[in-house]
Symmetry: C2
Subunit: 275 residues, 2 copies
């Protein structure tokens, strides 16, 4: 006898619950404005945590601009299906990744979907991806407070926390503040705010130039009484590394941004140790 | 007798058609990735065109991160309602603006809406805003190929064209290419591609540093055989002006980015003169 829609929904909810129960800490990386470096924070956080012998999954729910595969250097890989469900792509020993871009035949193909279809896809990623046991799942959301982050907050009721990424200028901070109100309203704990692209050191004259200003993220954290996780400067090498699919946390000794980022990773770990 | 839903829909479609028929050229400004300067292109394009004695409207359909009001310095204004419909905010003699942020009571309030409600709002903006006669309507879309740009392309069947904004690095160009496929699939003419944040001139040593690389937008235009509208360099003053709500096209003689931008405006005007 074919299953009814209700039966299917109940079974999917059961699979989702079982799947999520095997993952210890689940984090959402969110921003109000686009282009503030949310995906690069998510990718580098996942990478840095995987180097500490923890088992990590990274899930890209940015359906229209899925960039984690490119930043991880796995853009030519594809998700497969086994008896256990959808198999994530193994990026490294302790790091697995899932993104809509790992399903698409053609990387130029835009996903022209309205909200309800996105919700269905995100739910399927949560219920049917065979992550196995994980220490951390990092979810990279598109900017804003729409269908994708809303689906994550509603479908993962025990979300450990949200990391909010902003750049320092007012326009970005204005939108980051909205993200903060959003996660609070959905009862998601706030890990803290990261101020990205904060100051640029000219590689020629070594003078610091605040292209996107400086301090806006830190001020927001103080005003809203949430932790300030740290500031990451802009480095042109960083853009090059992201395009090449190389995580910049691998260059700890050479790059200012890498050193700053690793301090932020320690703070995220501390956050989980208090839970 | 109360109207049925069908009657209401027919009447709204009629109002939308009437409203749009009074607007000569309608442009969508779109990007794949967020944070590439789409809103600032839209705001400065509207501003520059309004200085040529043309009547301009700017419509912000970025429901979750509406920034045009802030960039135009009208963030404390509110939309009003008259017998003719929703009255846009008058920014200057020839420039009117509409944004969801001009309706919200509290600027920190996130709009936590799923796709279908966004579509309803966008449709209402198109059918019920009393723009009057306009030479140009510039629509600023959120990044990606989701509900908002899809609604615009479907609801304005005679859209004059789409302006695609990208930054030069591969990650952004990858997403811009998706936007290009998106607008082509929806039969919207492509005005061309703008390469924003292309090169940075250090204000201290005057050396050029390609923070986000250089040339990616131009290469994409060549590969896809669409016009390349021009490249705009990064200037820290620009971020300051955007935060203060001052359009940078007002500084033609002083700023490299302003000079570059005005050339792009001329190209958009040329595009309309061929139609």
């Amino acid at each position: 006898m074919p299953k009814t829609n209700d039966q299917e929904k109940i079974e999917q909810d059961r699979r989702l619950k079982g799947n999520m129960s095997k993952i210890r800490h689940k984090f959402l990386v969110i921003s109000g404005k686009g282009g503030v470096g949310k995906t690069s924070v998510a990718v580098n956080l996942a990478n840095a945590l995987s180097l500490t012998d923890k088992k990590i999954g990274i899930l890209d729910v940015d359906i229209h601009g899925p960039n984690i595969a490119k930043m991880l250097g796995i853009e030519h890989a594809k998700l497969s299906v086994s008896a256990d469900g959808i198999e994530p792509v193994e990026v490294a020993a302790n790091l697995k990744a899932v993104s809509i871009s790992l399903v698409l035949e053609n990387p130029d193909e835009p996903v022209i979907w309205r909200g309800p279809l996105k919700m269905v896809t995100i739910k399927q990623f949560l219920s049917d991806v065979h992550w196995g046991e994980l220490d951390y799942l990092i979810v990279d959301s598109p900017p804003g407070t729409g269908d994708e982050p809303l689906s994550i907050c509603q479908l993962i009721p025990d979300l450990s926390g949200a990391v909010i990424v902003t750049t320092p200028q007012e326009i970005a901070v204005l939108d980051a503040r909205k993200s903060l109100v959003f996660v609070r309203r959905l009862n998601v704990p706030v890990v803290g705010i990261i101020e990205n692209m904060s100051g640029f050191i000219c590689p020629h004259c070594h003078t610091e130039v605040n292209i996107f200003k400086r301090g806006g993220g830190e001020e927001l954290a103080r005003a809203c009484e949430v932790p300030f996780l740290g500031r990451i400067p802009i480095e042109p090498e960083f853009v090059e590394l992201a395009d090449r699919g190389t995580p910049f946390v691998a260059f700890e000794d050479e790059m200012e941004s890498s050193k700053a980022f690793l301090k932020i990773v320690r703070r995220v770990e501390e956050f989980t140790s208090t839970r």
